[in-house]
């Protein structure tokens, strides 16, 4: 931690500046000190030489004085006349030396004072010596001369005293100067050395720091390069192009990364140096170029969405433009996928909204509400339509087990509570129907089903309720209707019994008596009586046939119960056997092609084809041999022109055709209705039930029957039965 802070401080540019200032100050300081030291050394050297000069001059002066005295003495003793000249020379020399000394010691008050004393003493000596010289001349070597000699000696002695003093003083100064000088001669090279070493140190540190900075810059440049080349975004740098008025009008591409190729099919090397309005024509749309120029001028940053079409494919880019270093940096991020995903999401959202509204409409239509019930907290949310079902405004009450319980019909409360407990215990979905009394006092039946789901870590029950009042009332109606139907079926059953037994019974007895009467009493009847009797027999027979057919019709019922694979070839075989006698009687030829196997009830199909064959024989053309043909083919339901409900994909089309008298095509539908007859009763036997039975049988077999005919040209009955 500390190390980090330290490193950060060490790397901070502020520290660099401070260090540089300190180094400069230190260098200046050391240099100044060195300069001062050298100056001092110079002064001190001068002082030493001065002292030595003074020493020398003092010695010279006093030796001159000595020489002057000795010269005087010699002249006195030797009566040398040359004295005069040498003495004056000496005196002049000594004066010069003294003058020199004065110049040398003018800064030294002590020595100057001494020199003043010397000057006085010298003058005195001079006077004394001059006086002495005058005495000698008259050759009066007397006592007065001696006085002067003594006086000169005394003066010289004083001078010597001063000389010693001066020399001693000068010695002291010299010693002092020498001390200073020696100290300086040691310090100055040392300071120079320090200066040199410090300079080397500073240079070395500076070199390494610069070197490191350079490395850092290089590596960060490499990093930047890497980023620019490996980014998913287009990164370009533009330089402004100016017109003659120095106004920016366009930009020149100075740098373009590889993504230009990836997204826009533009080679970066080829586009560099060209104007963007030429390379990227899309910048001319939506005033993009204008905005970029403004951005550059205002030293700004802008971003916008842009759509680019490359080879017919639309791309979306989020573009980010920033003024930088007298140019523009542009970064284009490919947002196509995001954009498409957003579009998809919006589409899905739209669909969801539509579905939601459909759902809510459907809920209203179906009278369905939904709820979410947190059992632990006993709080619930219920859908708006649930409130509507309860005749409440949405959110009118705070739903919970308790508040909702108030709406439950008192008679169903116990059941409702039990249901709640059961649910809490087993946590299994179960349907439950109960009544509620709505706010308006209407009683409604609600059917509910819920289940447990994990939501935010706890179990909640979610479910739906449906207002089934109408269904329940329908169900009740249906139950009542069913009961009525059952009753009417029972009535029909008893009617059947009546018809089959009670109605037939007296008729049968009539016929029995007829047969008894015929056997025993007919011979006694008159002609008219016989005629009437025959009529009675005939009518009774017709009535019996009628009753039987009615019974047969009603017995077919509306449901085919036990269907089984029935071979129609066998059915037709049976029919031929049943009608063998009749066929023989009318001399008919019956041709039956290969017939299929169908799902059906054998005796009903037997009755169906029996009736049709019987009809064909009955309504024959007496002039020609009756022919009946039965054939079959398989047809897809689409090719059946007649309209009926076609649950099967394929049907057998079975045609029973004859060459009989036929009927008017307009009656093709009515012939299948009960009691519809096309002919007078006495012309053809029959009671108008046969074809009705046929129709009912075919319909029971999920089929369809219709007839085509023309008067005199035979008729065809076409039956469709599902494969």
């Amino acid at each position: 931690m500390d190390l980090k802070i330290f490193r950060r401080i060490a790397n901070s540019p502020v520290l660099d500046k401070i260090a540089l200032a300190i180094v400069i100050v230190l260098l200046l300081f050391i240099t100044t000190v060195l300069f001062g030291q050298i100056k001092t050394l110079e002064v001190s050297a001068e002082e030493v030489s001065n002292s030595l000069m003074i020493d020398k001059e003092i010695n010279t002066l006093f030796s001159q004085y000595d020489l002057m005295e000795s010269a005087e003495f010699r002249s006195v003793i030797l009566k040398d006349s040359t004295f005069e000249e040498s003495y004056i020379d000496r005196k002049l020399e000594s004066d010069q030396t003294l003058k020199k000394l004065h110049g040398l010691v003018k800064d030294m008050p002590h020595q100057s004072a001494k020199l003043d004393t010397i000057t006085q003493l010298k003058d005195s000596l001079h006077i004394t010596l001059t006086a002495l010289h005058g005495k000698i001349r008259p050759s009066q070597a007397d006592s007065t001369a001696m006085i002067y000699v003594e006086k000169a000696a005394a003066l010289l002695k004083s001078l010597r005293g001063i000389k010693a003093n001066m020399l001693q003083h000068n010695d002291e100064i010299l010693r002092q100067s020498l001390g200073t000088y020696r100290g300086l001669t040691f310090l100055t090279p040392l300071t120079t050395l320090i200066l040199a070493l410090f300079s080397i140190l500073v240079f070395t540190v500076a070199y390494f720091r610069l070197r490191r900075h350079k490395d850092q810059i290089q590596s960060s440049e490499a990093l930047l390069q890497n980023i620019v080349q490996s980014t998913d975004n287009i990164m370009n740098y533009y330089e402004p192009i100016r017109d003659s008025n120095d106004t920016v009008v366009d930009f020149r591409i100075a740098f373009a990364n590889i993504c230009n190729r990836d997204y826009l099919n533009l080679e970066p090397e080829e586009i560099v140096g060209r104007p963007i309005s030429e390379v990227y024509p899309f910048v001319l749309k939506n005033n993009e170029l204008g905005r970029m120029i403004d951005c550059y001028r205002n030293d700004d940053t802008i971003d916008f969405e842009r759509q680019v079409t490359v080879e017919g494919e639309a791309f979306w880019f989020h573009t980010f433009v920033r003024a930088m270093d007298n140019g523009l940096l542009e970064v284009m991020r490919n947002k196509t996928d995001e954009y498409n995903a957003k579009q998809d999401l919006m589409k899905v959202n739209e669909q969801l909204e539509v579905q939601n509204s459909i759902m809510s409409e459907a809920k209203k239509m179906a009278k369905i509400g939904s709820y979410t019930w947190d059992m632990e907290k006993d709080t619930a949310t219920i859908s708006d339509n649930f409130y509507n079902i309860l005749d409440c405004e949405p959110g009118e009450f705070e739903p919970s087990f308790k508040t909702y319980r108030n709406y439950v019909h008192p008679d169903d409360i116990e059941q409702y509570d039990a249901y709640g407990k059961w649910f809490q215990k087993t946590q299994k979905p179960r349907e439950h129907t109960y009544r509620v009394i709505t706010k308006k006092g209407n009683i409604k039946f609600l059917r509910t089903k819920g289940q447990f789901v994990e939501r935010e870590g706890k179990k909640v029950m979610i479910g739906v309720v449906q207002d089934v009042t109408v269904q329940i009332s329908y169900e009740n109606d249906l139950k009542i209707k069913n009961r009525e139907l059952e009753r009417s079926n029972e009535e029909l059953e008893s009617f059947n019994r009546v018809a089959s037994h009670d109605l037939q019974e007296p008729l049968r007895k009539i016929q029995m008596f007829i047969s008894r009467f015929e056997e025993k009493e007919k011979d006694t009847l008159s002609e008219k009586g016989t005629e009437y009797f025959d009529k009675i027999t005939e009518v009774a027979a017709r009535m019996q046939s009628l009753i039987r057919n009615l019974l047969a019709y009603s017995r077919i019922g509306s449901k085919v119960k036990e269907v089984e694979n029935t071979d129609l070839n066998e059915v037709l075989q049976k029919v031929q056997e049943d009608y063998a006698e009749r066929i023989k009687e009318v001399g008919a030829t019956i041709s039956i092609k290969k017939l299929p196997e169908v799902q059906g009830v054998f005796f009903q199909l037997e009755q169906l084809f029996g009736n049709l064959v019987s009809n064909a024989l009955k309504y024959r053309n007496p002039k020609i041999t009756p022919k009946v043909e039965v054939k079959s083919e398989k047809v897809p339901y689409k090719e059946i022109p007649t309209k009926f409900i076609k649950p099967a994909k394929e049907y057998y089309k079975i045609t029973v055709s004859d060459n009989g008298i036929g009927f008017d095509g307009n009656n093709a539908n009515t012939i299948f209705e009960v009691f519809q007859r096309l002919h007078a009763k006495n012309k053809y036997s029959g009671n108008g039930i046969g074809l009705a039975i046929c129709k009912k049988i075919v319909e029971n077999h999920q089929g369809f029957i219709h007839a085509t005919s023309e008067l005199g040209k035979g008729s065809s009955f076409i039956i469709y039965l599902p494969v």
């Binding site: 059947n496 089959s500 019974e505 049968r508 029995m512 017995r555």
Partner: protein, 155 residues
């Protein structure tokens, strides 16, 4: 109950008819009288009378019982069930003699052990013919080959 002595002969067939209709009983009587087979016919007005007779001690059981289905007090179906439930009446053959020609009745009586089903005809000649045919059947043989196909007597 009324019994009629039939034509004398070595093998007299004991026949009983339970029918509530007087005319039918009369027709039946006349028809059986016309037939050459020697029979002893007992007539009963309803099922109850028949059952009472059959449960009499030391009764001579009829070989063949003709049962009408629709009768007051006790109908033919009840009689059929009771007779078939009684092991002492094992050897009694039962012919259903009814106006009804409904499949349901035919099916039910067959299942409950009737031997033959005879529709009441509307012609005396046919009646005579039918009765004769029924009486001529070797019942022991017939019962062993009891099946649905020849259950309904067709003429």
């Amino acid at each position: 109950m009324s019994t009629n002595p039939s034509n004398g002969g070595s093998q007299i067939l004991n026949v009983a008819l339970a029918d509530d209709d007087e005319d039918d009983r009369l027709f039946f009587q006349e028809a059986i009288d016309d037939i050459s087979i020697r029979t002893k016919l007992s007539l009963f007005n309803n099922g109850q009378e028949l059952m009472d007779y059959l449960s009499l001690p030391k009764v001579i059981l009829p070989n063949l019982v003709f049962l009408d289905l629709n009768m007051p007090i006790k109908n033919g179906m009840q009689c059929l069930k009771e007779i078939r439930a009684n092991s002492s009446l094992n050897h009694v053959c039962i012919a259903i003699y009814s106006t009804s020609c409904s499949e349901k009745d035919i099916e039910d009586t067959f299942i409950n052990g009737a031997n033959i089903y005879l529709n009441k005809p509307n012609n005396f000649g046919k009646l005579r013919e039918s009765i004769e045919k029924v009486l001529q059947i070797n019942w022991q043989y017939h019962t062993s080959n009891l099946n649905r196909d020849n259950f309904l007597l067709r003429l």
